[in-house]
């Protein structure tokens, strides 16, 4: 009898310690998850393609008017899908993070901004059917209890910044990785347009042997690369650095360009059907030449109409970018080989960041650059 008591005591202790060590909260399903979508693609989110079992506790499901069921990895993907699909808000279901069953989202208690990481969002959102479960969760992981509407509102508001975060990760890491895996492991003649959603593509990749067996992470990388990039062309391979020879000198200041690859800029002219190229060691000199080529010597260039393209070097990525689409920051604390510079950026966000970081005085587009502005830089 005594031994039995000890055994019971030990098992209780064990369980207690197990539940105490729940500090590592996982979002994946602990048992077989409920999947409402049909076919082999039901294992993945229809918007982002992530594995539903792995992010089951933040999963949402919806029903369209035509009675198709769709399931998402998170409220973020639901919010994205609401823009494009007719979704009945009253039919939205969510996984109860404690019982792991699908419940009505409308009546659920959402915990917003707990210390547990969110799925595809900086702010995590977990739903509970009972208020006491939600309160227990808050006790351990903080956050606040709200209803479905305000949770959804929060998801929609943070959509832009969340997408930004995800895009940064995708372009810098996942697409290149997906591409190498695709080229090494998959059949190269996959017709992507055949598939209606990313989860269909993913299930085809896995089940129709389009790729050699891949791990979930690798499969996701391939699917994202194919779905979001290859479908619309490919990784821009031409977007390399500006190429200059060792002989090329800046027509304005006479310095060798190859010594300052970080600042290289080029104008391409077409004169008498022949391409002429002039390279500069900075946008400032390029602009001086652009406004008045005759001032810098007897060049064949006559009009701006002869220009075929203008390339500048993006400050952050060091890649060649089209000047007419670029953003320029003036008066920053970063100096080029010729002193004050117009510093080019491919996208506005980067330009804004640089503007703040390096105390720029002006952020303008190519058309807004004037000769006065350029000469002011030399003062």
């Amino acid at each position: 009898m005594f031994i039995k008591k000890i055994v019971i005591f030990i098992t209780i202790l064990l369980f207690a310690s197990l539940s105490l060590s729940a500090g590592t909260f996982t979002k994946s399903a602990s048992s077989e998850p409920v999947l409402v979508q049909k076919g082999d693609e039901k294992h993945w989110c229809c918007v982002c393609g992530m594995n539903l079992k792995m992010f089951y506790k933040t999963s949402h499901a919806s029903k369209s008017d035509d009675d198709t069921h769709r399931q998402y990895c998170s409220m973020r993907c639901l919010a994205v899908d609401m823009d494009t699909h007719p979704i009945d808000v009253n039919e939205i279901q969510v996984v109860d993070a404690s019982t792991q069953k699908l419940i009505k989202a409308k009546t659920a208690f959402y915990v917003l901004g707990s210390t547990v990481e969110g799925t595809m969002s900086k702010v995590s959102k977990f739903a509970f059917a009972s208020q006491s479960d939600a309160k227990n969760f808050v006790k351990e992981y903080k956050g606040q209890i709200v209803d479905f509407e305000s949770a959804l509102k929060n998801a929609k508001e943070s959509l832009v910044s969340d997408t930004e975060m995800i895009t940064a990760k995708k372009t810098k890491k996942i697409y290149p990785m997906g591409q190498t895996i695709f080229e090494k492991m998959c059949l190269l003649d996959i017709d992507i347009n055949k598939y209606g959603a990313i989860n269909e593509l993913k299930s085809a990749l896995q089940n129709k042997k389009l790729c050699k067996p891949l791990k979930e992470q690798q499969l996701q990388a391939v699917a994202l690369y194919l779905w979001e990039l290859k479908r619309f062309g490919d990784l821009e391979k031409t977007n390399g650095k500006i190429q200059v020879t060792e002989e090329e000198k800046c027509p304005v200041c006479g310095m060798f360009i190859y010594k300052y690859p970080k600042w290289a800029a080029q104008i391409f002219y077409e004169i008498n059907k022949k391409e002429h190229r002039y390279s500069f060691d900075g946008v400032k000199d390029l602009m001086k030449f652009y406004f008045n080529p005759a001032e810098w010597g007897n060049y064949e260039v006559k009009t701006k109409g002869d220009i075929t393209k203008i390339l500048v070097t993006d400050y952050y990525s060091q890649k060649a970018i089209e000047a007419k689409k670029a953003y320029f920051v003036l008066g920053s604390d970063v100096y080029g080989p010729m002193g004050n510079e117009l510093i080019p950026f491919e996208n506005e966000n980067d330009a804004q960041t640089f503007y703040k970081d390096h105390r720029g005085s002006k952020l303008i587009k190519f058309e807004e650059i004037t000769p006065q502005e350029v000469s002011k830089l030399d003062e």
């Binding site: 990481e117 975060m165 990760k169 890491k173 400050y315 952050y316 060091q318 960041t353």
Partner: protein
């Protein structure tokens, strides 16, 4: 012709050198020893500096480490997402690596985990990924070992695989897929490259954790800004930029150079004592020789020329001999004894080749420090004697 080299004078000078066999031999050997010591020291330092610099250049631009209670701690892999968001960062890789102490041989291996499809943070890994398949399975794992590790394994009867002892005491058998050699041996000799999953199993590191994060910044001018942004984002981290690393490597190196500086000063001091002794006066015999030569009809000019040839022959011969010996000692025999003073910071006694770096400047410096000084030290006292009247000297 005044400037024409007088062959007879040279002949006389050679004969003079040969006549005073013991004295010449002594001077040549001391002189040679000095140049040998100096040049081999310079050769070794240059080679190691070259090796270090190429190692440092291959280092990642920013390393992010989590610090907890003042110690290095495993960092969350999810931090990579935040870092990637920073403008200017072109790539961030969560590294998994560590040291494995192999008790039988008493050495440490550095174990580095790489992911096959990721953009590698080191060029040498790119070729490893190309050449070897490092897939990780339940029962079949592969690794690629550095030359030094391979030798150690061979000596310990591990021909085709190696058993790693996991933290829980069980064994993890990893097959040897191949041996790699990198351009610089200093960093790769004690290295084993495996897949991240295998390494996670050996070190028991969970999927969500990594040893540190390396960050690639396309524009080197932005490294400081990015580093400070990461620090703001994750205050519990230590950010090490490649500039910091360069400085600390340099510090180790400079400390060791100090030992050489001491050696250098001592040998230089010895040399100058010899010079001083020589220039403070000629022996009676030498004075007599100059006197007789003058009596025979030699001009002061002739005497000085002869003395110049004599000292030049001795010093230049000794100098070339010393440099040649140093070249052979350092690059042919890989500088036994001397280089141990320098190479002492790696766990596995790194067996690396000193790369051949020919630095004309240092050779010239040693030349200037020795040959002209010696020549001057011979000519000046001779000139003092030669300007005197012949009978005065002989008497």
């Amino acid at each position: 012709m005044k400037n024409k080299i007088n062959v007879y004078l040279i002949e006389y000078a050679i004969n003079a050198v040969l006549r005073q066999k013991y004295k010449s031999f002594f001077i040549v050997s001391v002189f040679m020893l000095l140049t040998f010591l100096l040049t081999s020291v310079f050769f070794i330092t240059n080679s190691i500096k070259h090796e270090l610099e190429s190692t440092v250049d291959a280092l990642p631009q920013i390393i992010v480490q989590k610090i907890k209670a003042g110690r290095h701690y495993d960092i969350d892999v999810s931090s990579v997402d935040g870092i990637l968001e920073i403008a200017g960062v072109s790539d961030a890789v969560a590294r998994v690596w560590g040291y494995y102490y192999f008790e039988n041989a008493g050495v440490n291996f550095s174990l580095v985990g790489i992911e096959q499809y990721e953009k590698q943070y080191k060029n040498s890994f790119e070729s490893i990924v190309e050449k070897f398949d490092l897939t990780h399975n339940e029962d079949d794992s592969f690794m690629v070992a550095g030359e030094g590790v391979y030798q150690t394994m061979q000596q310990n009867y591990y021909k085709e695989y190696f058993n790693f002892i996991k933290p829980d005491g069980t064994l993890k058998k990893v097959n040897l897929a191949g041996v790699f050699d990198s351009d610089t041996n200093l960093e790769s000799n004690d290295m084993i490259v495996l897949s991240k999953e295998t390494l996670r199993e050996i070190f028991d590191i969970p999927e969500s954790k990594a040893t540190d994060i390396v960050v690639r910044v396309e524009n080197p001018q932005e490294i400081q800004t990015v580093a400070s942004k990461i620090k703001l984002m994750y205050p519990d981290t230590r950010i090490v930029t490649n500039q910091d690393l360069k400085v600390s490597y340099q510090n180790i190196f400079d400390y060791k150079s100090g030992i050489f500086l001491a050696l250098f000063i001592v040998s230089l001091f010895t040399f100058f004592i010899i010079i001083y002794d020589k220039s403070s006066g000629l022996s009676n015999e030498e004075k007599r020789e100059i006197g007789i030569l003058k009596a025979v009809g030699w001009t002061v000019d002739d005497v000085l020329k002869e003395k110049f040839y004599e000292s030049f022959i001795i010093s230049f011969f000794a100098y070339t001999l010393g440099v040649g010996l140093a070249l052979a000692y350092v690059y042919l025999f890989q500088a036994p004894l001397l280089r141990d003073v320098f190479v002492g910071y790696s766990q596995l006694k790194t067996r690396f080749e000193l790369p051949f770096v020919f630095d004309f400047q240092t050779l010239f410096l040693v030349f200037l420090l020795s040959v002209p000084i010696y020549i001057a030290a011979t000519i000046i006292p001779s000139w003092k004697v030669a300007t005197l009247e012949a009978d005065e000297v002989i008497r």
